[in-house]
């Protein structure tokens, strides 16, 4: 009933999709929070970062309220699908992503942008060719964290996506299910080792991107 290999595959799919979908959102929100002052900025950042503080089960319930059959977005038919698992991972991972992107943008000296614009380069081209490349390693560090968080996601997923073998039963849910079965020991051990391996790879990736960011900003200074 519980297939560890399927769970690993699902986890990787969910993690990668949440990370890819989060990229434009994190870049836009991170840049906005780092570079712009506007009415409601605190409210926006609070809203975006809330899933970091909320218990994941609460985040899941709120998502179910929004995307549920009787919710405003019920027509999208999200609950109990792979999309729901991705949405849950995306939502709980987004705060880490945005925070990383925000500090990455804040670390880029605005002077470069001013010079670029004064030389007649459009603001959009300046962002694409100066700001984004300089901030990219820091944003990628956020991507790694988001991916890692997505792999560990449990609470919001169980509520919004259920625990469906082959569809939404990711690694965390598979371990949880196996834990309650007398014969689950072997699968748990296997999944635990895979989780540890992925965690090490992800954290090493995080460390590398952080160093890359530091080097890049130093050499340009």
């Amino acid at each position: 009933m519980v297939d560890p290999a399927t769970a690993i595959r699902l986890s990787l799919i969910v993690g990668l999709l949440a990370t890819c979908l989060g990229f434009p959102v994190a870049v836009a929100a991170g840049w906005l929070l780092a570079r712009r002052h506007f009415v409601g900025k605190t409210a926006l950042s609070t809203l975006l970062l809330a899933p970091l503080v909320l218990p994941p089960v609460v985040t899941g319930l709120l998502l179910l309220k929004a995307f549920g059959a009787r919710g405003p977005l019920g027509g999208l038919d999200v609950p109990f699908t792979l999309t729901a698992a991705v949405l849950a991972a995306f939502t709980v991972g987004l705060p880490l992503y945005i925070m990383a992107a925000r500090s990455a943008f804040e670390a880029v000296d605005p002077h470069y942008e001013e010079v670029s614009v004064s030389l007649g380069v459009s603001p959009w081209a300046t962002f694409r060719r100066i700001t984004l490349p300089l901030a990219l390693p820091g944003i990628l560090a956020g991507a790694v964290l988001t991916f890692a968080r997505a792999l560990g996601e449990f609470g919001a997923t169980t509520v919004l996506a259920g625990n469906i073998e082959g569809e939404t039963r990711t690694m965390a849910l598979a371990v949880y299910t196996l834990l309650e079965m007398p014969e689950g020991e072997e699968g748990i051990t296997f999944l635990a080792w895979v989780s540890i391996a992925i965690a090490f790879v992800a954290l090493a990736g995080y460390e590398l991107t952080v160093r890359w960011q530091r080097r890049r900003l130093e050499t340009r200074r």
């Binding site: 009933m1 179910l64 549920g68 059959a69 009787r70 609950p79 109990f80 925070m99 990383a100 500090s103 990455a104 804040e106 670390a107 820091g138 560090a141 169980t158 509520v159 259920g162 625990n163 469906i164 073998e165 949880y176 299910t177 834990l179 309650e180 079965m181 991107t209 952080v210 960011q213 530091r214 900003l217």
Partner: protein, 264 residues
């Protein structure tokens, strides 16, 4: 977070008091965690008893005063916790298998008749859906069907009941496993799922939002019995035994009945 900028230096005058505050907060939190008071009377109870146990203990505390703590989880997890030596006095199980498991290992003790209540398994639908179509038709017409996880008793009973009805293979692709019965109840009550299988007592908890469309015959899944046992390593053995006796009192039976259980 990546430290991309050097942190602004904090003046020493601020740092001192801040450290003090932080330290005292930590100390406060730590002392909250491990007070010197005697261990409270702890009841570990199956999730499906969540609503009834506080009422039972309130009545019990009048007879035998003292603080009571309870913790709820799936029976299987509670059994594992007791096996690992978690501090507990009484174990209220939602199936006899785990009760026997602990009993055989000498981890719990109880008398001959340790079954104190019975429950029934029901098919629920959202309250705005028709209930008279019959089990097979409701299951066929629902796009998704909620069952408790295959490792918690409620899920196992549901699997047995559906197998007995010859419907399990047919509905399997539509099954959504909830972490526990309460989640299945929530999904049906909010109209996420067209049908779900829960305990009769759960259906009563949200009677306004779900209706019972079918009550499974006990023969289909075997009796759903709740057992009570005293943990061998309990801090309060006598109080634990008194609680087991209390469960057989008229007072306890009245509370159990009110919540939809059949007392024994």
């Amino acid at each position: 977070m990546p430290a991309l900028q050097p942190a602004p230096s904090v003046p020493g005058t601020v740092l001192g008091p801040l450290t003090l505050i932080a330290l005292s907060l930590c100390w406060g939190a730590a002392s909250l965690g491990c007070g010197g008071e005697p261990a409270p009377f702890r009841i570990l109870a199956a999730s499906s008893l969540t609503e009834v146990v506080p009422e039972l203990t309130t009545a019990f505390s009048i007879a035998v005063p003292g603080a009571v703590q309870y913790s709820f989880a799936g029976t299987n997890r509670l059994a594992r916790q007791i096996e690992e030596g978690a501090p507990a006095d009484v174990f209220l199980s939602a199936n006899t298998r785990w009760d026997e498991y602990l009993l055989e290992r000498g981890l719990t003790q109880n008398g001959q008749d340790h079954v104190f209540a019975e429950n029934h398994l029901v098919l629920i639908v959202p309250s705005d859906a028709p209930t008279d179509a019959g089990l097979a038709e409701i299951l066929r017409s629902s796009r998704r069907i909620g069952l408790a996880g295959e490792s918690v008793p409620a899920g196992q009973y549901a699997d047995l009941a559906l197998t007995e009805a010859g419907l399990l293979e047919e509905v399997r692709p539509k099954v959504v496993r909830g972490d526990n019965v309460s989640l299945v109840l929530h999904w049906v009550a909010t109209g996420e799922l067209g049908a779900g299988i829960v305990y009769q007592t759960d259906a009563r908890r949200r009677a306004g939002e779900v209706s019972i469309a079918h009550t499974f015959d006990v023969a289909a899944h075997g009796p759903i019995e709740y057992t009570a046992a005293v943990v061998t390593e309990a801090h309060h053995l006598d109080r634990g035994r008194a609680f087991l006796d209390f469960l057989r009192s008229d007072e306890a039976h009245e509370v159990l009945l009110r919540h939809g259980f059949s007392p024994r």
